[in-house]
Symmetry: C2
Subunit: 208 residues, 2 copies
């Protein structure tokens, strides 16, 4: 006999879309814990990597606002250190910051509906902010794909296809149309937007 | 016999400085609940009104970032509505936004060490964001001062003095030196900085 919990089937479970940017600091703690929290909330997570670069560029910015505003940038690293300590996550400041996330995002876009998307994304964030690795390195990304159970060679080819590149650009447009201006962001099926790692719990509650 | 609670005297209670801007949306929910939360945490709050205008100007901005970035501004009002609902606070979008907060801040600076500073500040925020009143109106501010138990006439004169105007400018410089770039911000006695209404509880914990 199904319990109240199991009565939600895959089809009827409420969905929350997780919009993240691989170079974004606060996307890291969200990526590491969203599936655990979503399981408790009985919400299905749709992983949607996108790029903040074009959104910042439209704003007249040529790099991260954390670089353009030094005081805000200094504070962000202090705050990240405190947040990561509270969550038991390691934190290393990668160089350069922000990292070049285009290839990681293309791979993520190619695999956004694959069973390995969550594990791959967490592995990229861990390499970047847990170990300080350079996530623009194709060899690193290929090895993370393999560890996540993906056919790395096929996925890398798929990621480089014109269709996939266009698809990622369209993801940025879709994010913009949803009102997204930063990462992480969360959108419910009814179109409610929540911005920031601090709003993850609220977004999950809203999704239900 | 003193209990553990009352063993803290006025002199030994840890202090947390609350840096706020009367025109700042997220300063409102912090101002309304900080004394209640501080009492529970046995922390003394130092109220320090300052101005974000000069800090934004140094950044090349001539108005609130919520106006310069329309998507962020639209989101902020949605988020404020949700936050205020959670806290049981009324929310009205004042016009113009941001409000001209110079006179309110000068009065707040003149009275920053007076017993009425908390009540006056809450009254200004309530008038602005709870009722949509124009807080640049001297008559409104005088009536809020009277209700808070201040000698409104003397305080308004004090607020307009050259010494007080210079003092408020120095407060902005002091804030900048502490690394402050937005409001609300909280600084502990050891110089730790916390930014945003979302960090109020963390800041109080750090102050202890």
């Amino acid at each position: 006999m199904p319990t109240e919990q199991t009565a939600f089937t895959e089809a009827t479970r409420p969905k929350l879309t997780f919009w993240f940017e691989f170079a974004s600091t606060y996307s890291y703690p969200s990526a590491m814990r969203i599936e655990t929290m979503a399981r408790e909330a009985n919400v299905e997570i749709i992983w949607r990597p996108f790029l903040l670069g074009p959104i910042f560029k439209a704003q007249g910015w040529d790099t991260s606002p954390f670089n353009l505003m030094p005081a805000k940038g200094r504070y962000m690293w202090q705050d990240m250190a405190r947040q990561c300590e509270q969550l038991g996550l390691p934190l290393v400041q990668p160089a350069p910051f922000p990292q070049h996330s285009l290839l990681a995002a293309r791979i993520g876009h190619a695999g956004r509906a694959q069973p390995w998307i969550a594990e791959y994304s967490r592995a990229v964030f861990h390499a970047e902010f847990g170990e300080g690795s350079d996530i623009s390195d194709p060899a690193l990304l290929a090895s993370l794909l393999l560890e996540a159970g993906a056919d790395a060679k096929a996925v890398m080819e798929d990621a480089a296809s014109p269709e996939n590149k266009t698809g990622l650009r369209q993801a940025v447009e879709e994010a913009t149309e949803l009102g997204i201006f930063g990462a992480p962001s969360f959108t419910t099926e009814s179109g409610e937007l929540y911005w920031g790692n601090d709003r993850l719990a609220d977004a999950l509650a809203a999704a239900r």
